[in-house]
Amino acid sequence: MKPLLQLKNVRKDIGKKTIIHDLSLEVFAGEVFGFLGPNGAGKTTTIRMIVGLMGMTSGEVLINGISIKKDFEKAIQHVGAIVENPEMYKFLTGYQNLLHYARMAKGVTKERIDEVVKLVGLEKRIHDKVKTYSLGMRQRLGLAQALLHKPSLLILDEPTNGLDPAGIREIRDYLRKLAKQEGLAVIVSSHLLSEMEMMCDRFAIIQHGRLVGIESVQELSKQAQKVLITVEPVEQALSIIKRAYSSINMKPTNQGIEVSIDYEEIPRLNAMLVSEHVKVYGIQTMTKSLEERFLEMTGGNEIA
């Protein structure tokens, strides 16, 4: 499959300091791709270079195979983006803001504007001035301007910032739908691991301007992870587990037993406990594994 977005050895120097070191990655249609990294890691700089707001010192960004450096206008027309906060013209209404961006794209009709407004759920307030909007509403308007021209690559910097839990869920579901059903490539950036895990198919971990690794969420969740087992009696369960897995890492806690175990082994462990007449009240994977993996890869949360 042809990648929708290609970064080839992208490098950015500011003065003598190298901000981004030879970053290469590919994003395909139909996937939600995450940029994960601590503050100051270079996520936003990378996004700025992808959309042509910043020049590259060397390397190349290709969108649909078109170089953003050599043919900006052609490459950018398939991109919709929010870079950092969705800043809008506050003295204009939401609708006038959308009209402004509609005039700058090809073939965006009035009907399309209405459609997008409905999609992001701003019908009631779209003719109010943006200065009266809450952060969540601005985020929605930001999403609307990014979707106006039906882009094939959607780039959202911290898209859930300022949204309430219901809004976060709505956006998350919507982004997944855009990727799966409409075949968009979606790039999101975040420093929140849990969010990445729920939203993305794959994500790149960036630290100190370097690509630390690209992980697939699916694969990651199949790796060894911590499981919390709520059982009774605890003593019996402990000895059963010890017998079955000699070198296992486990720890009894107030809630139950924390066990580090491979994803595939969970059903077997359960069957074993049940057959020995241990009462199993719950088996819960602890999402911590991703966080630990992240910390392991980045070596803590230090800022460059």
């Binding site: 700025r48 042509g52 983006a81 700058m104």
Partner: protein, 315 residues
């Protein structure tokens, strides 16, 4: 790719949907009205204009008898003399400032106010996009930066043009109401190729307006450049206004001592002096000044363009 027209439409929306713009228009109308009322209240009616012109002729003749008079200045005085003699001969009254045309011509001074407003609009056009953070969403559209810059510049000049038309409209209406239109047929006396000719007064007013626009265009372009370089509208407004008021004075001082002063911007912005005045430095002509203005215009705009096109947007 969006057409330049829709980009200008966008810029216009951003100018005219703001209250401050309408405040400026209101202020211009108010200033025009106030100017007319002050003129009416303070102007002393001249009883016998013929006697006044005659005494002026006397003074001019005395001045002309001075042998050491510079040639340039002498020409100017001779023109004045011929025009005044023509007046007496053909019974054409000089236009007093409390008449319809008199105030129309004087209203050209309000162009300074328009210059101030246009500088504010020009400076905000680029710098505000940075301070609002909207520059990011503006520059990730299929429109090149050059095109966006051009649309901003065009919308700014369009604003200035609208303000000039409004001033012309305001002052003609206010002038007609306050001073009446009794002397509307008075011609303007111009000096052409050694002869005094009667020309249309409206044409003269428009020409005065036009020649007053040199400073307007140059300072707007300057403010536009500063705002593109420093992304700070206050700095651009402050610097442009400071230069506008101090530049003329300093240039005049320099021109008394140094010949090279004629290459300075402000030595060339007052084009009106080639019509009824004396050049700042001997040997300067209207075409020289227009050429110099053109050079400055190109330099300012090139800087703006080079910087805006290459800049990393980190706002």
């Amino acid at each position: 790719m969006p057409s330049i027209i829709s980009l200008i439409q966008n810029e216009n929306m951003k100018i005219y949907r703001r209250i401050s713009t309408w405040f400026m228009i209101g202020l211009l109308a108010l200033a025009t009205l106030a100017g007319a009322l002050i003129t009416k209240a303070t102007h002393k009616e001249q009883q016998n204009w013929k006697a006044g012109v005659a005494s002026e002729i006397q003074t001019l003749k005395e001045q002309l008898s001075d042998e050491k008079l510079p040639k340039m200045y002498k020409n100017h005085l001779e023109q004045q003399l011929k025009i005044n003699e023509y007046r007496l001969e053909h019974d054409i009254r000089p236009v007093p400032s409390n008449s319809f045309w008199g105030y129309m011509v004087n209203s050209a001074d309000m162009i300074q106010l328009i210059t101030l407003f246009t500088i504010i609009v020009a400076a905000g056009s680029i710098a505000s996009e940075f301070s609002w953070g909207t520059i990011k969403l503006l520059l990730i559209r299929p429109a090149s930066r050059s095109k966006i810059l051009l649309s901003k510049y065009a919308a700014t000049l369009l604003f200035a043009f609208c303000m000039l038309l409004l001033l012309l409209m305001f002052s003609s209406i206010i002038s007609a109401i306050v001073f009446g239109i009794d002397h509307i047929r008075t011609p303007y006396l111009a000096y052409q190729n050694g002869n005094v000719v009667e020309t249309n007064m409206l044409f003269h007013v428009i020409r005065v307006y036009g020649l007053n626009c040199a400073t307007l265009v140059m300072m707007t372009t300057f403010a536009f450049m500063i705002s593109a370089i420093f992304r700070n509208s206050s700095l651009a407004i402050g610097l442009a206004i400071f230069l506008m008021f101090v530049g003329t004075e300093v240039t005049a001082l320099l021109a008394m001592k140094f010949k090279w002063a004629k290459y300075l911007l402000f030595a060339n912005t007052d084009l009106l002096r080639y019509i009824d005045g004396v050049p700042l430095v001997k040997g300067m002509t209207m075409s020289f000044s227009i050429l110099m203005l053109f050079v400055y215009f190109i330099v300012f705009n090139s800087f703006t363009w080079l910087i805006f096109r290459k800049r990393d947007i980190a706002a």
